[in-house]
């Protein structure tokens, strides 16, 4: 007990001292290279993007660039595409997080047990995370989900079910499934490690207290996984907001705008219509949104993670 309390005291002392810059010893200037590099990386293109967003600037039109004030912004805010795309971006984040967390928990509950080759199985389960997003999308689109010759259509056919046009009928769902497949590898990796660090005595104690399998899961395992789940939420949010390859390869944002997210909306403007002005406007809007999301992450998840 004594050592604990003195450790706490020591911790307090450290915390106090750690919140202030020191004049003796290494300085905070060490952070400068990273921040400077990122500032340049962010600032220069961002300023250019900002500048372009007020122009009529089409790559294939040599008529020239002209300053058009907020016209690009008005265009974006007056069309419904921005709302749809923003919502789709959010659907991807929420959908993928929901699937990866739920299925990830199920999977690690199976993998946490002892069985022959369990270690190999655990390593293999992470594989999807290493697969290039383009490749993942191509494989799913062609080999698996193709409604005519795809494996799933064949399997459905065997049990007498009609083929489903996944990307035409359920575009967002299909894309979310593909992305979720890649990220289940990630959530499994983290949840499995967390679960294996769970004290077995704790489970045994719960069993002695008369907890059944469900109660053990609900009151012992799940709380233990809260932090890793928080991490999954944060990391996936960061990466999923700018999902692009999976949409590009499969639905091209369609049908209509059904599977267009912000990234893809900007892509359409920039590289299908070559309208740099509009694309830059989209870029500016998405930069603002990214900062809003970062703010909320800071308020919620990262605080609880004590990062």
């Amino acid at each position: 007990m004594n050592s604990t309390s003195s450790a706490v005291q020591h911790g307090i002392a450290q915390m106090e001292s750690s919140t202030r810059a020191e004049s003796i010893g290494p300085k905070t200037y060490l952070v400068a290279p990273s921040v400077a590099v990122l500032l340049v990386w962010i600032t220069v293109p961002t300023v250019m993007t900002f500048w372009f967003s007020f122009q009529h600037y089409n790559l294939v039109n040599t008529a020239g660039r002209e300053f058009i004030g907020f016209a690009n912004y008005l265009y974006f805010f007056s069309s419904s595409s921005l709302t749809i795309a923003a919502l789709n971006s959010i659907y991807v984040v929420l959908g993928v997080i929901a699937i990866t967390v739920c299925l990830g928990i199920g999977l690690v509950l199976l993998l946490d047990r002892d069985f022959t080759g369990a270690r190999i199985a655990r390593v293999l389960a992470i594989s999807p995370f290493f697969v290039m997003p383009t490749v993942a999308a191509l494989i799913w689109k062609n080999l698996l989900l193709d409604p005519v010759n795809g494996l799933l259509a064949t399997v459905l056919g065997l049990v007498g079910l009609p083929a489903v046009d996944w990307f035409g009928t359920f575009p967002m769902f299909s894309i979310i499934v593909i992305i979720a497949w890649q990220w289940i590898g990630f959530s499994t990796l983290i949840l499995l490690t967390a679960l294996q660090s769970l004290d077995h005595e704790l489970k045994e104690a719960a069993a002695m207290d008369g907890a059944g399998a469900f109660a053990t899961f609900r009151f012992i395992v799940l709380p233990h996984l809260a932090r890793p789940i928080g991490i999954i939420v944060m990391i996936e949010t960061i990466f999923l907001l700018s999902v692009f390859a999976e949409i590009f390869v499969t639905t091209s944002g369609g049908p209509g705008l059904a599977s267009t997210n912000l990234s893809f909306l900007i892509y359409v403007q920039a590289l299908l219509r070559f309208d740099v002005g509009l694309a830059s406007t989209g870029g500016v809007i998405s930069i603002i949104l990214a900062n809003v999301v970062a703010y909320f992450l800071a308020k919620t998840v990262s605080r609880s993670l004590e990062i």
Partner: protein
């Protein structure tokens, strides 16, 4: 509660565990199988599992483009970008972890938020800048971009590792007469070996799989495997088998690397929050 060691439950665990894993990685297995089929077999359900394997697809793919060049470019750019990111990120993570200020958390989140920006939004500015600096289709250009793109993750991962290292040890080194460089060289770097390894691994994987910049900023000299696979994303005619072969070639190196290194990956990805 589960009864460990009971034979019947072990068999059940075995079946359930392996079934789940095989289902999960089935797309990869299927791709692997398809890469050894003829194009016609790739389409026929009868040839799903029993077929005459052929290496023709690999031959075609390898003959059509210089796989080795693409692969070497992938290795070169992802490793160099990772080293550069570690070099820049290491001092930053050190300073934030051991000498935090009131603004540290904000700085960190800002750094991370730069990852959320869709790259396509800044493609044209970057292209114009790169054109003027002569960086299009250069290894350096791609390395710099990969470095920028991964720096946030590198800083974060190292930061969370460093937070687990007791400050006392660094202070002891300082009292023992170590300057900043010696503190890094003899204490922090040896101590964060696993951290550096896992950070490097993740960074390499992310660089390897990056497609947007590789495709848009390289032509031939610096093109990576992501650009290589772009050639096969919709070739003429029946192409599933060839696509599978190209895909296997593109992901195999990083997949194997991931399998070998995954144990180290966890601590990095979890930002130290999962022990």
């Amino acid at each position: 509660m589960e009864k460990r060691g009971t034979s019947s439950s072990t068999v059940l665990n075995f079946i359930a565990g392996w079934a789940a894993v095989i289902l999960l990685i089935f797309p990869i297995i299927w791709m692997f199988l398809t890469s050894f089929k003829t194009e016609i077999d790739a389409l026929s359900p009868e040839a799903s599992l029993i077929f005459q394997p052929t290496l023709d697809n690999y031959r075609t793919v390898l003959a059509r483009s210089n796989y080795l060049t693409f692969a070497l470019n992938s290795v070169y750019t992802s490793v160099a970008a990772t080293l550069l990111a570690l070099l820049v990120g290491f001092p930053a993570a050190y300073s934030m972890a051991f000498l935090p200020t009131a603004k540290t958390r904000q700085t960190l989140l800002w750094i991370l938020s730069t990852k959320m920006m869709p790259p396509v939004g800044v493609l044209v500015p970057i292209y114009i800048l790169y054109r003027d600096m002569g960086l299009i289709d250069s290894h350096l250009g791609l390395i710099l971009l990969f470095m920028f793109a991964n720096l946030p993750i590198v800083v974060w991962m190292l930061y969370s590792f460093f937070r687990d290292i007791p400050r006392d040890i660094l202070e002891a080194a300082r009292i023992d007469g170590a300057g900043l460089w010696e503190e890094f060289r003899y204490v922090l770097i040896p101590l964060s070996g696993p951290a550096l390894a896992s950070t490097a691994l993740l960074s390499i994987i992310l660089c390897w799989n990056e497609a947007f910049w590789s495709i848009n900023l390289t032509t031939t000299k610096a093109a990576t495997l992501a650009a290589f696979i772009a050639t096969y994303s919709a070739p003429q005619g029946l192409f599933w088998a060839k696509l599978s072969a190209a895909a296997v070639l593109a992901i195999a190196p990083v997949l194997v690397m991931g399998w070998i290194g995954q144990r180290h990956l966890v601590r990095g990805l979890t930002f130290g929050a999962v022990k």
